[in-house]
C-alpha cells in the first residue's frame, strides 16, 4: 500500500512537470494561433478581439495555472479548430472522448493478438531442435519486423479487403451504430499493428527462454522426470517472461497512444489522427491534453508492468 502511494505521487508529479513543459514549449515555438484560426479573414480588430476572448493577453504563468486548474476540475478547455455548431465551441473532452474508444479498442485487440500468438510461438521456437523450423521462424520474424507498418497496412487491406473480401476497406463502421461490425473492422488494422510486434515479442521470448534454459533449476526439473513441455510451460516460461513483460509494456504504451500510420491507412477516427491534425492546425488545447494523455498512459503502463513484475518474480518485492 505504501508502495502504491509512492507510485501515485510520482505519477502526479510527472504529469505536472510534463504539463508545464508542454505549455512552455508551445509558447516558444513560432506561429500565432489567432492568425491560424482566422486565416484570410484576419483583420487587426478581429485578431485583438479573439485574443481577448481566448485570454491570450494574460501573462503565461496566469494562463498556465488557469489551464491546469481547469484540467484538474475536469474542464479540458475548448478546441480552437473544431466547433460543435455555428455558435458552440467544441470541448476538448468531448473531442477526445469520441476518438478514445476507437484507439483503445484497437489497442486491446492488437494486444490480445500479440499475446495469444507470440507466447506459444516463442516457446515453440525456443524448443525447436529442428534446424529448418528454427531458420524458417528466423526469416519470417525478421521480415515481419522489417516491413514498415503503412506497407503492412496496405498489404492487409489488399489481402483481406480486395482479394478475400472479408471487409470493405475505408468503410469504417462506427461503434455507436454497430459494435460488432466495429470490432470486426478493427480486427484488420489490429493485424497490421500486431504482426511486427508478434515477431519482436516471439524473438524476445525465445532469446530469454534460451538463456533461462541454461539455468540450474531447469536441470532440476528434468531430473524429476518432467516432460519437455512441462519444463517449458511449468518452469521456464514464468522466469523467461520478466524481460518480455517490460517489452510488452513498451508496446502497450505505444499502441494506446495511438497508431498514427495504421489509423491513417484504415481511416480510423482515433487518437493518432487527432494528434496529427491538431498539431498541423495549431489546435494547442487539444495537443496539450493529448500530451498529458500519452504521458499518463506511458507512466500508468509502466506502473502496471512494475506490479506485474512483482507478481511474476517474488524476489523483487522482498528486496
Amino acid at each position: 500500500m505504501k508502495y502504491l502511494g509512492k507510485k501515485i505521487i510520482t505519477l502526479i508529479m510527472t504529469l505536472f512537470v510534463v504539463s508545464a513543459a508542454a505549455f512552455i514549449a508551445f509558447q516558444i515555438i513560432p506561429g500565432d494561433v489567432v492568425t491560424s484560426i482566422l486565416g484570410t479573414e484576419a483583420t487587426p480588430e478581429r485578431e485583438a478581439q479573439l485574443r481577448e476572448e481566448l485570454g491570450l493577453n494574460d501573462p503565461p504563468a496566469v494562463r498556465y495555472f488557469r489551464w491546469i486548474g481547469g484540467v484538474l476540475q475536469g474542464d479540458l478547455g475548448v478546441s480552437y479548430r473544431y466547433a460543435k455548431n455555428m455558435n458552440e465551441m467544441m470541448p476538448v473532452a468531448e473531442l477526445i472522448g469520441d476518438k478514445l474508444p476507437v484507439t483503445l479498442s484497437l489497442a486491446a485487440i492488437s494486444l490480445v493478438l500479440i499475446i495469444v500468438v507470440a507466447i506459444p510461438l516463442g516457446v515453440l521456437w525456443a524448443r525447436s531442435r529442428n534446424k529448418v523450423l528454427d531458420a524458417a521462424l528466423g526469416v519470417i520474424t525478421q521480415v515481419s519486423m522489417a516491413i514498415p507498418s503503412f506497407f503492412l497496412g496496405i498489404l492487409v487491406t489488399y489481402l483481406f479487403g480486395m482479394v478475400l473480401k472479408c471487409f470493405a476497406p475505408g468503410n469504417y463502421v462506427s461503434y455507436e451504430k454497430d459494435p460488432g461490425g466495429f470490432l470486426f473492422y478493427l480486427l484488420f488494422p489490429a493485424l497490421a499493428i500486431a504482426i511486427p510486434k508478434i515477431a519482436m515479442t516471439a524473438r524476445f521470448l525465445r532469446n530469454s527462454m534460451l538463456t533461462e534454459l541454461k539455468a540450474d533449476y531447469v536441470r532440476t526439473a528434468r531430473s524429476k522426470g518432467c516432460s519437455e513441455r512441462r519444463v517449458m510451460y511449468g518452469h521456464v516460461l514464468r522466469n523467461a517472461m520478466m524481460p518480455v513483460i517490460t517489452f510488452l509494456g513498451m508496446i502497450i504504451a505505444e499502441i494506446v497512444a495511438g497508431s498514427i500510420v495504421v489509423e491513417q491507412v484504415f481511416s480510423l477516427p482515433g487518437i493518432g489522427r487527432l494528434l496529427i491534425s491538431s498539431i498541423s492546425t495549431r489546435d494547442l488545447p487539444v495537443v496539450e491534453i493529448l500530451i498529458l494523455y500519452i504521458t499518463f498512459v506511458v507512466i500508468f503502463v509502466y506502473f502496471l508492468v512494475d506490479i506485474l513484475y512483482r507478481v511474476v518474480d517474488p524476489r523483487i518485492s522482498s528486496k
Binding site: K6, I9, T10, R129, A215, D216, Y217, R219, T220, A221, R222, S223, K224, G225, C226, S227, E228, R230, G234, H235, R238, N239, V312, D313, P314, R315, S318, K319
Partner: protein, 562 residues
C-alpha cells in the same frame, strides 16, 4: 544395481569422460572424487540422462538393474529416462539457490514429484512411511523393461478423489520436510527459495530427492556451497537417509576428506579416467597414485603451517576503533531511505605491518561488510578507521567474474596504475613504464610474458586468480584485503595460490586481512585470527593460541565441524 561400463563421453572433439567403469550396489555410497574438469560431474549427469545435448556417448553403456539406459551410438531415449528420473533415481545439486525455481514456492516444487509420478501407496494410505511397502515397489520393478516399470507404477498409485489426493500430497511433503530436519514445515512449504537460507534450500532439495524413496540418489557436490557447520549437518542427513531408506548413493565431491566421512567406496578421477578406487581406508592409507597422494596432501588441514617467528613490524598498517558498519534495507528512493541495519558492530582491532590477520566466520556474519568498510567502499559507518599505508587493495573470491572478460591481461594489470595516475598526477607514469611494471608483475605472480595479450577466458581459474593478485599488488599497497581468495579454486590450485600469497607477502612486506570460511586455510595463512559471528568479533588472538584454547563455544564448534 547400477553398472557403468566402459563409458566415454565427448563434447565435440574433447573427451570429457574416458572409458569409465563404475558399479553401485543397493544401499552403497560410492564417492567419486576429482578436481574440476576430471569428468566426475559429466559422468553423474550422463548417468541421470541430464548431460547437455552436445554430449555424446562414444563408448560403453549404462545399466540400471539390467535395463540399458544409455548405449554408445544410440541417441538418449528421453521417454525411457523419464520413467526413471525422479522416481527410481534422483539428484541433489551443488547450488541450492540456483537449482530451485526462483518463482515457485518450494512446497509446490517438491510436490511436483508426486504430481509427476503419483503418490506412493503407503502415503495414499495413512501417511506413515514404511519400508515394507518399498519392497513391494522393488518387486514390481524387478520385472525389468520400460513397460513393467509402468505397471509397477500403476500398481502403487491409488486414485483418490482430487481434493483428498491434494491433501495427502501436501501431507507427505510436510512429513518429508520434517524428516530432513526442516523446522516449521508449514512455513517452509509456503516460502520461495530466496526466503530460505542456503542450508534450508539444500534440505528442500534433499526432500525433493528422497520423497519417493528412489533406489539411487546422485549427489553432486551437495555441500560445497554451504557453510562448514551446515555442511556437516547435511552430510549427517545424507548418511541418515542412506541408513533409513537404503538408497544407493553416488556422491560426487572434490574433497577427499568429505568422501571419507560417508562413502563405502571411493573412486578417484583425473582427466576423465578413474585412476584409483577402493575403500576409504585403502585410498587414504595406501594411495597407489601420485595424484591421489597429491589430493590428500593438498587438503589444507594436512599442510604445514608457515614457520612461526617471522618478523612482524610493531607499527600498525591500519587501526580500527569502535567500528560499526550499516547497510540499508529496502531500496532508496526519493521518498524514503531504507532502514539502517548494523552489519558489523563495535569492531576494534589493529593490523600491523607485515602481519597476516585471518578473519573467519560463516556467510552473513559481516566479514565482507567489514572488509568493504576498511577499503572505503562503504560510507555508512560510525567509529574510526585509520590507515598508515597507501590505498589498500582487494583480491576477490571469484576470478571468473571479477575480471573484465573484454580486456587483455596486460590491460587489466595496467589499469590500477593508470587510474592512480589520473587520480594523482604526481604519481602518473608513462605508458612504457606502466607496461614494464605490468610485465614485472606477471613474472612475480608466476606467469610468463606471453600471457600479456591473452584474455581472461583463455586462462584457468588459478591463472586468473594470479592476475587478480597482480592487479591488487601493482600499486604496491601496504594492506591487502583478500576476500575468500582461494574458495573458488580446486584444492591443488588452492595450495599453489596460498603459497604464492605467502611468498609475495614476504617479498613485498605486505599485510593481509585474509578472509575465509575455511578454518584450515586460515590456520595455514594467519599470524593472528579473528572470529566473527552475527556482526561481532567474538574472539581474536594468536593463531596457535586460539586453536589450542578457543575461548568461545562458537569457535570450538567451528574447529570441531571442520
Amino acid at each position: 544395481m547400477i553398472a557403468i561400463e566402459d563409458l566415454s563421453v565427448n563434447f565435440g572433439s574433447t573427451e570429457a569422460v574416458r572409458h569409465v567403469s563404475l558399479e553401485l550396489r543397493d544401499g552403497e555410497i560410492l564417492g567419486v572424487v576429482g578436481e574440476s574438469g576430471s569428468g566426475k560431474s559429466v559422468t553423474a549427469l550422463t548417468l541421470m540422462g541430464l548431460a547437455a545435448e552436445e554430449a555424446t556417448v562414444t563408448s560403453g553403456r549404462i545399466l540400471y538393474d539390467d535395463v540399458v539406459l544409455q548405449e554408445a551410438g544410440k541417441p538418449r531415449d528421453k521417454a525411457l529416462y523419464r520413467k526413471y528420473q525422479g522416481e527410481w533415481m534422483s539428484m541433489v545439486f551443488q547450488e541450492p539457490m540456483t537449482s530451485l525455481n526462483p518463482t515457485q514456492r518450494v512446497g509446490r516444487q517438491v510436490e511436483e514429484m508426486l504430481r509427476l509420478h503419483g503418490l506412493p501407496l503407503e502415503a495414499a494410505g495413512d501417511g506413515e512411511l514404511q519400508r515394507e511397502s518399498d519392497t513391494v515397489r522393488e518387486v514390481s520393478h524387478t520385472g525389468q523393461s520400460g513397460e513393467s516399470a509402468d505397471t509397477g507404477r500403476a500398481g502403487k498409485i491409488r486414485q483418490p478423489r482430487k481434493q483428498e489426493k491434494r491433501q495427502r500430497m501436501k501431507q507427505l511433503v510436510l512429513e518429508t520436510f520434517a524428516s530432513v530436519g526442516l523446522r516449521e514445515p508449514e512455513r517452509v512449504y509456503q516460502c520461495y527459495p530466496h526466503q530460505l537460507s542456503g542450508g534450508m534450500r539444500q534440505r528442500v532439495m534433499i526432500a525433493m530427492a528422497v520423497i519417493l524413496h528412489p533406489r539411487l540418489i546422485v549427489a553432486d557436490e551437495p555441500t560445497t556451497a554451504l557453510d562448514v557447520t551446515v555442511q556437516s549437518q547435511i552430510m549427517d542427513l545424507l548418511r541418515e537417509i542412506n541408513e533409513k531408506q537404503h538408497n544407493a548413493m553416488l556422491f560426487i565431491t572434490h574433497d577427499l576428506n568429505l568422501a571419507r566421512r560417508i562413502c563405502h567406496r571411493i573412486a578417484v578421477m583425473k582427466d576423465g579416467r578413474v585412476v584409483e578406487s577402493g575403500t576409504p581406508e585403502e585410498i587414504f592409507e595406501h594411495p597407489r597414485e601420485a595424484y591421489t597422494r597429491n589430493l590428500i596432501e593438498a587438503v589444507p588441514s594436512r599442510m604445514k603451517r608457515r614457520a612461526a617467528g617471522r618478523s612482524i613490524g610493531r607499527e600498525p598498517v591500519v587501526t580500527v576503533r569502535d567500528l560499526s558498519v550499516y547497510y540499508r534495507e529496502g531500496n532508496n528512493s526519493l521518498f524514503s531511505r531504507g532502514r539502517k541495519k548494523p552489519a558489523v558492530q563495535d569492531a576494534d582491532f589493529t593490523i600491523r605491518w607485515g602481519e597476516i590477520l585471518g578473519l573467519v566466520g560463516e556467510s552473513g556474519c559481516g566479514k565482507t561488510s567489514l572488509s568493504k568498510a576498511i577499503l572505503g567502499m562503504n560510507k555508512e559507518i560510525t567509529g574510526e578507521i585509520q590507515h598508515f599505508s597507501s590505498r589498500p587493495q582487494m583480491i576477490f573470491q571469484d576470478p571468473y567474474s571479477s575480471l573484465n572478460p573484454a580486456k587483455t591481461v596486460g590491460w587489466l594489470l595496467e589499469e590500477p596504475l593508470r587510474a592512480r595516475g589520473k587520480l594523482d598526477p604526481q604519481q602518473a607514469m608513462t605508458a612504457a613504464d606502466i607496461r614494464t611494471a605490468a610485465m614485472d608483475m606477471l613474472e612475480k605472480v608466476g606467469l610468463t610474458e606471453d600471457y600479456f595479450d591473452r584474455r581472461p577466458s583463455q586462462l584457468s581459474g588459478g591463472q586468473r586468480q594470479r592476475i587478480s593478485i597482480g592487479q591488487a599488488l601493482i600499486t604496491r599497497p601496504g594492506l591487502i584485503v583478500a576476500d575468500e581468495p582461494v574458495s573458488a579454486l580446486d584444492v591443488t590450485i588452492q595450495a599453489q595460490i596460498m603459497e604464492l600469497m605467502r611468498r609475495l607477502q614476504e617479498e613485498m612486506q605486505l599485510s593481509y586481512l585474509f578472509i575465509s570460511h575455511d578454518i584450515h586455510v586460515i590456520y595455514q595463512m594467519s599470524d593472528r585470527i579473528m572470529v566473527m559471528k552475527d556482526g561481532r568479533i567474538i574472539e581474536i588472538g594468536d593463531t596457535e593460541e586460539v586453536f589450542a584454547h578457543p575461548r568461545e563455544e562458537y569457535t570450538r564448534q567451528l574447529l570441531r565441524e571442520s
